[in-house]
Amino acid sequence: MFLLENLHNVWKILSRNKVRSFLTMLGIIIGIMSVIVIMSVGAGAQSLILNQVKGMGSNLIGVLPGSSNEDGPPASAMGIVITSFKNKDVEAVMNAGNSHLVAATGYIRGRDTITWGEQKTDTNFVGVSYTYPSVEDAELGSGRFFTEEEDRSSGRVAVIGSQVAEDLFQDLDPIGKIIKIKRTSFNIIGVMEERGVSGFENQDNQIFVPLETAQKTLLGVDYISYARFKIDAAENVDDSMEFVRAIIRDEHDITNPENDDFSVRSMAQGLSTLTTITNALKLFLVAVASIALMVGGIGIMNIMLAAVQERTREIGLRKAVGAKKRQIISQFLIETMAITLTGGLIGIVLGLLISFAVARVAQGMEYDWEYVVSVSSILLACFVSIGIGLIFGLLPARRAANLDPIEALRYE
């Protein structure tokens, strides 16, 4: 009853001076809006990363040449070419007879101009084993992937990504066409299903050729850039990583693990690293937004102190007709909290709109971006705005309650 009537009064006071009320709320609006945007966009970005990793298969193990500690970037990611990692290492692991290892492939990457008649496109070519589709759960849109036979015999066959197919052949059927990569002719035998952007790569703008063909014919090297192993179940990932390490160490005649010239990572590890980074970033941004909220709260306290001054006579009168201290305190606290909550609600709505816009833009750019609205962040924003009202309203409210009614009534 008391609360409802107070709120009615608050509404009257707020609408009395709309510009000032709005300016008073601005700090809270901006602060809460930022928090909502950060939470939502952050969650959207995380969902993007998560989807990509899931898209590649969460029970994958990656092996990179060069040593690195668990969380740091691998040497190869820093532009250092290491030639010690070979496809025979991958084969050795697969031949060691661990039933948890389902499939594996090495990768070697290059980039060149692909031509078909007069048509040209710049794209990446990737040398992989015939097992690539089962390792990455990649589906073929049409045609087939190369066989073990074609793989072993360094066949001049290629499977192209859907983007390449579109760039080179438009509406024509690419199967059976002959393209040239570095003057070597390749017979197109399949087109991959569209996969979208994953990591920082457009998966659809690639051409897959047998690993050895890429190594010997196109690049003239004998090493691989990295390898991936598919594990039968996620719970076997850790054991399998140890197994892979042991075999490769053996292959490379390494006795002391500190001398490893390769590093084994799981997708889960990569995911947790990324999540750690994005969470830290989110926390930092939330901290910045909290400063906005603090400043907003101080602004509100300032306005409320001025309001107490302005309404001294009213407060004196209310005390003279029987208002108790705590009733005056709650009147002012409710008023402050109503201002901050209103500001908070406006901030929430704006924040949701902005995050929605960001999500739509990202989706427009064909990222697998989800518009994530967490109820918890909205509830948090509500509580925070009420809390700010409570904290920064207390001083003005107490000052009002402690006014001497006689002095207050005389106040001009």
Binding site: E5, L317, R318, K319, A320, V321, G322, A323, K324, K325
Partner: protein
């Protein structure tokens, strides 16, 4: 103490402490006010009459002595209990009206009920009844800015009555009014007294004070006279405002 004694004051003193300096405002007052009386507290400015009214009206506390209201020792009451007394036992009429400028006449009248348990519909009914009693039933939704001085003071009177108080304190109620409006206000006070309300009027004007039935003269913090009014001024404004 007789049953009809409302206020009993014994050796009341009031001192103000400001830093090292102690100012004594009231020194040893003794008097009683019975239910249904109409008393003027009259004195020049600085005599302590306002301080006395504040103490009697539970807005201020006494320094020494005793104040019994309906037999209850007021000096033993805490802040909340004093607020309850203000809420239930007294109504104030101020020289400067002290209305909330942005609220309607009706809202102003029922404002004190906000701090009681009375339901909203009951409050509205009571507020309307009182405003019609002071002849303002056509001004319910007017804000103070739209009312004349006399009308404002009548709103304030309705507000003072809204909690059905034991005693009404009127502090220079005609001080800001022209003589016609002043008459109207005094007439209402006299009519209310006629109906049995206890009224304590604080003024420095002899003429205004003589509308009461009894005058307590106060000077330099002491009571210098306590007389019945022999030739009482009867406010006639021609209008039967209180029915």
């Amino acid at each position: 103490m007789p049953l009809n004694t409302l206020i009993q004051i014994k050796d009341l003193t009031k001192e103000y402490q400001s830093g090292e300096l102690t100012t004594s405002v009231l020194h040893g007052l003794n008097f009683e006010i019975k239910k249904g009386e109409f008393v003027s507290i009259m004195g020049p400015s600085g005599s302590g009459k306002s301080t006395l009214m504040h103490i009697l009206g539970f807005l201020d506390t006494l320094s020494t002595g005793q104040y019994f209201f309906e037999g209850r020792d007021v000096s033993k009451l805490n802040d909340d209990e004093l607020a309850d007394m203000r809420s239930n036992k007294v109504g104030f009429i101020f020289q400067a009206f002290n209305l909330l400028n942005r609220s309607s006449a009706l809202e102003n009248v029922i404002m004190p009920l906000y701090y009681t348990t009375m339901s909203k519909t009951e409050r509205m009914t009571r507020g309307k009844k009182l405003l019609s009693m002071v002849g303002l039933d056509h001004r319910l939704q007017y804000t103070p800015g739209q009312l004349s001085g006399g009308e404002k003071q009548r709103v304030a009177i309705a507000r003072a009555l809204v909690n059905n108080p034991e005693v009404i304190f009127a502090d220079e109620p005609t001080g800001n009014l022209d003589s016609k409006s002043g008459h109207q206000v005094m007439k209402i006070l006299q009519d209310l007294n006629q109906q049995g309300h206890t009224i304590i009027l604080v003024t420095h004007e002899k003429y205004t004070a003589e509308h009461a039935k009894r005058i307590l003269r106060i000077k330099d913090g002491e009571i210098v006279g306590d007389d019945e009014v022999k030739e009482r001024q009867l406010a006639e404004d021609g209008a039967e405002l209180v029915k």
